[in-house]
Amino acid sequence: MLPWRRLLGLCGWTFVCGIPQLACHAREAESPPYKIVQIIQDTTLDGPLDQFSERLGGLLGIEEANVLGGFFGQSFELVTEFVQNHNEASTVMNRHIEDTRTIAFIANADTPTTEILSELAQQSSTLLFNCSNPSDHLRNDRCERILFHVTPSESMYVHALGRWLVEAKKHKSWYIVYSSDAVQSRCRKTLHAYLEDIEGISIQSARISLEGNTLKKQLDTIVKSKPDIVFLCLNDEELERLLNEHSQADLKLPLAGAFLPPDALWKNGGRQLEEGIWPVAWNHKLFRYSARDLNSRFKKKFERPMDSLAWANWAAVKMIAEAVIRSGSTDAKVLIDYLEGEQSFDGHKGTALSFRHWNHQLRQPVYLMRAGDNSSDDAWNYFDVLTPMPYPVQSATQELLDTLGVSEEDCSCQFEGTL
């Protein structure tokens, strides 16, 4: 007898409507529902798969989509596929493309995998929603008309945090610490481009290297320059190392970064940081503008807080269902026209969300987080929401939302293809 893990591996990890099933099982129904396929890439697939945030967000979304669909005689099914690499992802996607019930895919994957999925989606004229990858590369250089980005982009995060540090904190002297990988280079470039247009701002920057035994020398250099703010454009490994040494040396550098991982901050003395600030798409502590209602529904159903990944997957499922119901079609061309149009989406963020026609990025507020209540003993509740950006969010017009991220004139995306 095959071990259960291996048996599942033969068919891929699949969940259908909350009940784990083998992907090779066919599901029969009198009136077949439209199928939304959620692909979750994780190199290790550690931990209970049915507790992945992406999965839970999708489940809440499909439940709410089916309440709406039920009013109008339509139903939707969420199929979740867990994959470890792009080969598995493309195999899974090809299999579902063959099913005429499949109307859209949701990707939670790295950049190379998302690129492959995007090409397959374009070839098969099946919508693809990116819910986890903030890469500006996907939105500018490798954009596809079939691909929509629900999660905020790298440049949206950088602009949101940069603007707040300039406008609210009045920081003049900046020190950018960056690494050489593509994502972090874009982070530095985006921030630098934003800051250099602002009068009175001085910028120093240094590339970090993990080659030595310690970052002491590099940290000493930063301390000596006495910057108002140290902006980190670093990958996870570099951040972990820097935060660790920063904590051990009991430094009090004011740190901020577009991609600070909360776990690393928490483990490495985040509460000692004068400023440990970073942006997110969603947080379970949001309560204004009906965020409380959404957070409450998620917590009630899954007994855990809603995070950014859960929010993006919830939002994508609901957008797909609403687009189908409101447009009265499952045809990709019709759905794209609908999504590119003036229809707004309610993401419980207090303002109307819509897709930018030039690169299909969802316009939306993001939230700046900071280290919070010292008495909290877990990473979930240790951090507080500092402010939404742009501000004031309750009256954020499209123009104001478009101050975050790549503008139409700076965007290099050219949609090609027949759709």
Partner: protein, 322 residues
């Protein structure tokens, strides 16, 4: 016999004085009070404490009972408008936000935001006679002038659930603009207007057909319109829409469905109510903690009245003109 005559005269005089000057009742969600404004001279005549987090507000057809949705008490509060004393509470399911009273005063229809239901209460006894599933996150409730239909908006499903009051069940769901908040029927009951807060829209519904016949997209340069409260004038010619954080009231022609103008009012305008003659409109400005009074002939603000904290909804006595 003589005593009865004297009592009758006093009673009639007392109520005629009261009815000659309809009062506006404003629910203040942040300080748990109701501000009472005399609409004759727009002065505050009293402020009373009620239950926890009053938002939805309405009157019985004879104006003798004021009802309040008390979100944190899970109840409808009942106030005697003559004595301004709290008479009691009707428990009505979790987190009531809005409700409407039937034209004959017998029924109260309540939306339960957390439970995705509408609860029907018998107003005399407080007995719950029915709980109906509606869309997700139900909010605004309104009743057609003849009492036949009840509309319950649902913010997350962007729907209006239509309750047939004779059958006591939901008979239709209508897809409207994103995040519908409130609805209002025309005096003849043939049309209804539904505000869509995130969509920035007003959907016009053919009541007999249960379908949207037109959608008004509201735009104002430099501002984000977030429609919330809506009322129709007694002559059916104009529709007023509160624009939320855009801090204006939109005036819509019911004949052309065009926005005629935007009137600047207080900050975060939500609740609206008209005097029975339709000559004055009152707006609840939640963040500036006041009420703007608009002359509906000129469509200009003629007074601003300070209220308690967080004015949310307004109900104005209507019986005087009936």
């Amino acid at each position: 016999m003589r005593l009865v005559f004297i009592f009758s005269v006093l009673f009639a005089v007392g109520y005629s004085n009261l009815w000659a000057r309809p009062y506006a009742y404003v629910s203040n969600e942040f300080d748990n009070t109701v501000t009472i404004i005399d609409t004759a001279d727009d002065t505050v005549v009293d402020t009373i404490s009620v239950g926890q987090r009053p938002r939805g507000i309405g009157l019985s057809p004879d104006d003798r009972t004021l009802y309040l949705a008390l979100g944190r008490d899970d109840a409808i509060g009942i106030v005697d408008t003559k004595t301004l004393q709290i008479k009691g509470q009707y428990f009505c399911g979790t987190d009531p936000e809005s409700f409407a009273v039937s034209p004959d005063g017998k029924w109260i229809y309540v939306s339960n935001e957390d439970a995705n239901t509408a609860t029907i209460i018998e107003s005399g006894s407080g007995e719950i006679v029915s709980v109906l599933p509606v869309g997700i996150e139900p909010e605004g409730v309104s009743v057609s002038p003849d009492g036949s239909w009840v509309y319950v908006t649902a913010e997350t499903t962007h729907t209006v659930s239509v309750i047939d009051t004779q059958a006591g069940k939901v008979v239709a769901h209508i897809l409207v603009g994103s995040r519908p908040r409130e609805s209002a029927f025309t005096p003849d009951g043939t049309r209804a207007y539904v505000t869509g807060e995130i969509g920035g829209t007003v959907s016009i519904i053919d009541v007999n057909e249960h379908k949207v016949i037109e959608t008004i997209e509201m735009k104002m340069e430099g501002a984000l319109i977030k429609p919330k409260g809506v009322v129709v004038t007694p002559d059916g010619r104009k529709v007023y829409v509160a624009t939320g954080s855009a801090n204006h009231v939109a005036v819509i022609s019911a004949e052309t469905n065009e926005v005629l103008r935007y009137i600047p009012v207080g900050i975060r305008v939500w609740g609206l109510a008209l005097t029975p003659d339709g000559k004055k409109l009152y707006t609840a400005n939640g963040i500036s903690h006041n009420v703007s009074v608009i002359d509906t002939e000129s469509d200009e603000v003629i007074a601003t009245v300070a209220t308690g904290k967080g004015p949310w909804g307004i109900a104005i006595e209507q019986a005087v003109e009936k």
